[in-house]
């Protein structure tokens, strides 16, 4: 459903800082895949997600979503079919607006904006139903401004908003990295639930090797702008952190250099 062909992204092209962030990436993501992406610092993980989301134009290659070429579209056009959650829990919600107003925007995402009321009693019912799923008691705080919520609550809300309109694709960019460990565990659990429930095709960048192995059905390791491993099925089930680090050293010729990953092992 998501096909990436010969994708190349070069930052600061033609300057002394030229940096090939993505080097001829080829990847076919099947419907319902939940892919975890790991890699050293600067491997191109976030650049890959940003390219898919249309944040910046790419130098070469094609990105096809459900057969439709979405390469180099602007971010907001791509976003119609893509849900995104970022590392910063503040980036996915509008702080001055209430919980129900935020969710209202997310629910009407697939429709064109109109002069219909943003909130109706029917819509409130749907919003409550969705909020009950994330089990944080937010269904009783519909008119609370989002800025009054904790980081974990905001990230849970963002996750719900990203999945509620049933996107074709969900992009998660280290979305639990800025949360405290207990909250991070809750959000990961919620992530798995929401993805399974709606069978959403997902790409998740993480620095946590354990999560990368435990979550999802497929693991991709990136290094220096390329995909160096693509592990599925039984091979993934049998993975351990040690094996994964060993595999990286074999290919790369030196030790894994993601400091955050090493600290979290």
């Amino acid at each position: 459903m998501l096909v990436i062909k010969d994708l190349t992204k070069i930052f600061y092209r033609g300057t002394s800082n030229e940096n090939t962030a993505l080097n001829n990436i080829n990847l076919t993501v099947n419907e319902g895949d939940f892919i975890t992406i790991v890699g050293s610092n600067g491997a191109g993980k976030s650049t890959l997600l940003n390219s898919i989301a249309g944040v910046f134009p790419v130098e070469k290659g094609k990105i096809l979503l459900n057969g439709k070429d979405i390469t180099c579209q602007t971010e907001y056009k791509c976003a119609k079919n893509i849900g995104r959650v970022f590392q910063d829990p503040l980036s996915g919600t509008s702080p001055e607006m209430t919980i129900e107003q935020n969710l209202s925007l997310a629910i009407s995402k697939s429709n064109n904006l109109s002069l219909k009321w943003g909130l109706t009693s029917y819509k409130r019912k749907i919003i409550k139903k969705h909020l009950k799923k994330i089990d944080l008691g937010l269904e009783d705080r519909l008119t609370t401004k989002v800025k009054l919520l904790s980081g974990g609550q905001r990230q849970a809300l963002t996750l719900l908003m990203a999945t509620v309109a049933d996107p074709g694709l969900l992009l998660l960019d280290e979305h639990t990295a800025a949360l405290d460990p207990a909250t991070a565990i809750k959000i990961k659990k919620l992530t798995a639930e929401l993805i399974n429930e709606n069978n959403i095709t997902t790409l998740m960048v993480t620095h946590n090797m354990e999560d990368a192995i435990k979550m999802g059905n497929r693991l991709i390791m990136m290094d220096d702008g390329q995909i160096i491993y693509d592990i599925t099925g039984k091979n993934k089930d049998n993975l351990t952190i040690e094996k994964l680090l060993k595999m990286f050293e074999n290919k790369h010729g030196s030790k894994f250099n993601n400091d955050r990953i090493l600290l979290s092992v």
Partner: protein, 288 residues
């Protein structure tokens, strides 16, 4: 301070309230410091006055002013979203060019409307005696505009506009173009400001090319006075606060004049008031 002074302040406050609502839309909702208003206020007055002297119905001239203001907002929006000129500079460029355009529209720097038919003289003819004709007409117009704005800000499109100023990244993630939202906000805001300019022109009995100087600061003062008085609430209450803020601002100006302050010192006073209010949160933090 006698009654006629209070009435004049009330009338002025109402006539300028739409301008304050316009500033509220850009400054607070869109988080876009739009200086176009210093040009779109006299633009509204100029269009309205020119049409009235040409024999057009004064009420229709209000609609024309509204439309002209929308055009001014479109220009600023184009400069910012398409040509990527910074918000502040986009507004300044439109404001500056509007000075020439306003002179063109009027054909001279000042159009007196004293002996002409205006919306106020028409309502007086309907049998409403001064000052009620002015106050009822202005209040009705302002309340209608406020209710329409409130309703709009609670539609799906209105939600998107509000979130654009609050968190543009989130709005893009929702598949909405932040550029279109900025454009929309600027158009609505400057339409309001130009309509306000038309009301002010007809109320004071002339349109003048220099009447826009300091509009943004007066608008900000009104918005801030409303916020300080009313605090954080729903949109319906907040927009009411802006209107009340506009009236209180004109009252305080009247009081200052009554106390013997020279009219030429008013802009300095207003600027100082805005600085004090804007810096209050920061000063509180430092003093704590």
């Amino acid at each position: 301070m006698n009654l006629s002074f209070a009435l004049t302040s009330l009338e002025q406050g109402l006539a300028f309230a739409l301008m304050a609502l316009g500033v509220f839309i850009t400054f607070r909702i869109l988080d876009f410091a739009d200086l176009t208003v210093d040009g779109s206020l006299p633009l509204g007055a100029a269009v309205s006055a020119r049409l009235i002297t040409a024999g057009v119905n004064p009420f229709f001239s209000l609609a024309a002013a509204l439309f002209a203001g929308g055009l001014a907002g479109t220009i600023t929006g184009f400069l910012n979203t398409k040509l990527k000129i910074a918000p502040l500079l986009s507004g300044i460029l439109t404001m500056t060019s509007l000075y020439s355009i306003n002179l063109r529209v009027m054909g001279r720097p000042n159009i007196p409307l004293i002996s002409r038919e205006t919306i106020f003289s028409i309502t007086e003819d309907w049998g409403l005696a001064y000052p009620w004709n002015n106050i009822i007409l202005l209040a009705a117009l302002i309340i209608a505009a406020k209710l329409i704005l409130d309703a709009f800000l609670n539609t799906q499109l209105g939600f998107a506009l509000r979130a654009t100023g609050d968190n543009p990244q989130m709005i893009r993630s929702m598949g909405i173009s932040t550029n279109s939202m900025k454009m929309l906000g600027l158009i609505i805001s400057n339409s309001f400001v130009a309509l306000s300019g038309a009301l002010v022109g007809q109320y004071q009995g002339f349109a003048d090319v220099n009447m826009g100087i300091g509009t943004i600061v007066a608008g900000l003062a009104s918005v801030i006075i409303g916020e300080v008085l009313i605090g954080e609430h729903s949109i319906v209450v907040t927009t009411l606060g802006v209107i009340v803020g506009s009236i209180l601002y004109r009252f305080s100006i009247s009081i200052a004049l009554n106390l013997g302050l020279a009219a030429s010192d008013l802009k300095l006073l207003t600027a100082i008031i805005v600085v004090i209010f804007l810096s209050t949160p920061r000063l509180k933090k430092i003093l704590r």
